[in-house]
Symmetry: C2
Subunit: 537 residues, 2 copies
């Protein structure tokens, strides 16, 4: 089934000038591996798909397990074969639409819940329900004896998964295969929080709106939110994934430990985007692996862009999921754009705003990467999805952020903190010319662009391209049948041992014993001396 | 003074076959930087020297500050210029000789101290005294107004230092320059313990003889030893380096914080050698950067090696420092070698052992790397210095270890734990044929060689050679004037904030308040109800 390994012969003419030439890696051919993939749906698939295409072009044989109700993942592809599992229900656009409308209603104060209650209780049932649906899919997969036999007979080298859904972890253990993650999120919470020590004093929890510099009360909020997300995580793990482990893997397979036991964690961040924090030897950073130099624009788009003259172009997109905002907001946005001398390209679905100016082009889809890399592009109005933020960093384009939910606010906050973005909320975007002011501020003050350009230089100054780093480590796991030498003993310990609580108790006990013994001895001595004195007297 | 940047033109013909071709980096030319080096003496200089030669060959201009009583660091060199500071006293061979003889006497039970007392009290005065001498050197350097003016005028790009001596840290702050470490040890203790969270439950303290899998009492020992080395560290820092900071840098310059504030930590380990543990974004691993493929041996040595026939060769070295062991031990070692069918090359100074066999060649010096890389070499009898251990890993040669002091036991333990070495102590080497048994065990059981070969494969399977990694990051700091984006906020926090103790106290207080209020309200309610009842009655 596996295609023959590809042989390549290439001649490289390297003429190295006086300029700083960073180290660059040339990827050679490799013996094609046999990789089993258990992906997560939605925007997670967009990332995974890019990685799979790169793996395929390196000669690897890709097999995917998907559900028949899959939303993004097609059963037919030129670069993978797929096995489809029949399920009763699925996660689909409805789930996201519900979230978006809830988020907007909430942001605008139309939901009678406090932020916390809304986020943790209101959303929690939807969240658990989503994982329940995944759990049903995973159970259906593992119950399918014939599928399991086929997978076992396929002699895979490793399982590649996004552990935001736990199916890949269980599948790897079931087939006894090395495990590689393409990861940013675990079931609840950021991946680092599970594998690396994470002092909550300077590591902001996603959703907290904190940076790595916090006031006392921000730290209180941070600790509180961490406890909430950890509770969420453990509730879902025990409700959904542990039950599957118990049924299909037999006793003594703790899901949380299995999850921590992955060989390589390919993290979809880097430390130009993320705040610096402790990490682990098997965490590999591939943030921005999807970014690439801009290609020329289609002729009509290029013409529109060029027509902007010296003022340049603003591009706006609220991502894959959000097709429409409430009409009053879109009208306000359109009216603001109409006041600007720049040309605007707006990825917009739904009704045309009444206030739309002549300078604004509405499009169903746009070549975002090519536009961001265009020299005429002055500003990116973005919702703050990871992909868009990474592309803005890669191309060095300043941002005005309009976050809606998930990690979007926190992603944009990282740009703002580095002086590359301004942030608005849906609640205030249509008030007091806030949107216009933010756009003008970012356009007029060159510091925003210079800061983004600095981030771009830092991001690009790596010895290996992030995608090559990812490919290297996946192939490393194939070559060495895992990466056991990079995995710590940490997760094998009971929590009280991990924190040395038992040792400190023991030492405190020992100290107490010494003090007590000394006290008793001193007392005896004192009594004896006193008695002798009395006798002498 | 700086040599002109080197221009290179190269044509690479890459013919990539079906074999696994790991990613490899080709270093391009670079604009020569201006690097100020404050090295540490002794074996630390051996490492630094290799790095400096590589930097020089990349076109960088190297300047060193040394003392006129320097033991290893010459004032004249083809690849650096040096500034010499006059000092009254120095650290020299006497210091090491004293340590060796103490260690041997102690190991053999001839010192009437327990291990702990010996290590912490007996050695502590020597240790503090050594740093006092360094402190005098650093003070003399900073007092030399003309030298300081010259250094300031030299417009260096960065300071490169081994922070085992604190002078480089202070010099970098004094000159306001970015700071890069070539590091394994800080003033006391391993570098990771200061910069990365280090749960003592699975991170063994050097000198503990622990691995990353510990029993309860090993963990108690680990915590205890950590407290001791940290106390040592802080005592020395306050006694020596903080005083210098206060005098020359002005108020509010805490030495410990300055030390943590380095841009890049080039760690002289990797995770093939070291147990996996948490790390930081600005910790870069260059373990084995000094290793290189073997060159052909000198003719007479090659002849001797070939004469070993199928039995092969054993090589023995106790490192740079240890010139001689007590006669009874060397006689035992020589007698053991005489019993073997292998040929032996023994780096040995001092009197020729009476029991020396015909198969053993005593040499003053040997090309250790070339011998380790020779296919006839079957075994390395080593003292466990980092350089030797890394070379053994690089060439995949199994080891019988005879550690004496410092980190030697712990280094060898890492090989033993991976099944690549056997360990003896000076105390037991001459008893019950222990030495012979250990050699025969490692020679006869192919697992030792296979394990070392596996470590060698893992070590070599990196996208960049460790030396290229080191050069990349030094040049990165030059290009970007530091690496601020990789440094955490951790060290700016008070210790109680770092551990969120204040937050937990606050939350506990808040909880208590809620409980108390509830209790009081309940009581009031109860009293009211009771009163009403009494009234009604």
């Amino acid at each position: 089934m596996a295609p023959p390994p590809r042989l390549k012969t290439c001649t490289l003419q390297l003429t190295l000038h006086q300029t700083v030439l960073p180290l660059r890696v040339f990827l050679g051919a490799c013996e094609g591996g046999n990789i089993l993939v258990f992906p997560t749906e939605g925007s997670h698939w967009i990332n995974m798909d890019i990685l799979l295409q790169a793996l395929h072009s390196r000669g690897h044989n890709i097999t995917i397990v998907r559900s028949d109700k899959s939303w993004y993942i097609k059963d037919k592809s030129t670069y993978y074969r797929s096995f489809t599992v029949e399920v009763k229900r699925s996660l689909d656009q409805k789930y996201i639409t519900e979230l978006v409308s809830k988020a907007i209603l909430f942001e605008r104060g139309a939901l009678p819940l406090t932020n916390f209650l809304h986020m943790t209780l209101g959303m929690f049932s939807t969240f658990v329900d989503a994982h329940m649906a995944v759990g049903e899919f995973v159970s259906a997969m593992l119950s399918d004896q014939e599928l399991m036999r086929t997978l076992r007979d396929s002699k895979f080298d490793l399982v590649l998964t996004d552990p935001c859904w736990g199916g890949g972890v269980i599948l790897a253990k079931y087939l006894n295969l090395p495990l590689v993650y393409n990861v940013r999120w675990l079931i609840a919470g950021e991946a680092h929080l599970a594998i690396a020590p994470s002092p909550l004093s300077y590591i902001p929890i996603t959703g907290s709106g904190n940076t790595d510099k916090m006031t006392f009360f921000q730290r209180v909020k941070n600790v509180f939110l961490h406890l909430v997300t950890q509770t969420q995580h453990h509730l879902v793990v025990r409700q959904v994934y542990q039950k599957i482990c118990d049924k299909y893997l037999g006793p003594d397979n703790d899901y949380h430990q299995l999850m921590l036991d992955a060989d390589i964690w390919l993290m979809r961040v880097d430390f130009v985007f993320e705040f610096p924090r402790p990490t682990m030897p098997n965490a590999v950073y591939m943030g921005g692996f999807q970014c690439k130099p801009a290609k020329p624009l289609p002729e009509d788009l290029e013409e529109f862009v060029q027509s902007s003259g010296e003022h340049g172009v603003i591009i706006m997109s609220l991502g894959t999921f959000v097709s429409q905002l409430p009409a009053d907001i879109t009208n306000e946005i359109a009216a603001t754009f109409a006041k600007l001398p720049q040309k605007v390209i707006w990825r917009h679905k739904g009704e045309k705003p009444a206030t739309l100016g002549n300078n604004t082009l509405l499009v169903d889809w746009m070549p975002q990467n090519d536009l961001l890399g265009h020299p005429k592009t002055k500003l990116f109005v973005a919702h703050g999805g990871t992909n868009g933020v990474q592309e803005a960093i890669y191309h060095g384009v300043p941002v005005v952020g309009l976050p809606l939910f998930f990690d979007q606010y926190d992603n944009l906050l990282r740009l703002k903190e580095r002086g590359g973005a301004e942030l608005l909320t849906i609640k205030t975007v249509d008030k007091d010319n806030n949107f216009l002011k933010a756009i003008q501020k970012v356009l007029d003050d060159t510091a925003y662009r210079m800061n983004m350009q600095r981030l771009s230089r830092l991001h690009r100054d790596q010895p290996m391209k992030p995608m090559d780093t990812a490919l290297f480590w996946i192939e490393f796991v194939k070559r060495h049948k895992g990466a056991a030498h990079l995995k710590t003993e940490a997760y094998r310990l009971a929590w009280y041992s991990y924190y040395s609580l038992d040792v400190f108790l023991f030492l405190a006990g020992a100290l107490l014993l010494v003090l007590l013994t000394t006290f008793i001895l001193m007392r005896c001595l004192y009594t004896t001396v006193c008695k002798q004195k009395v006798k002498r007297d």
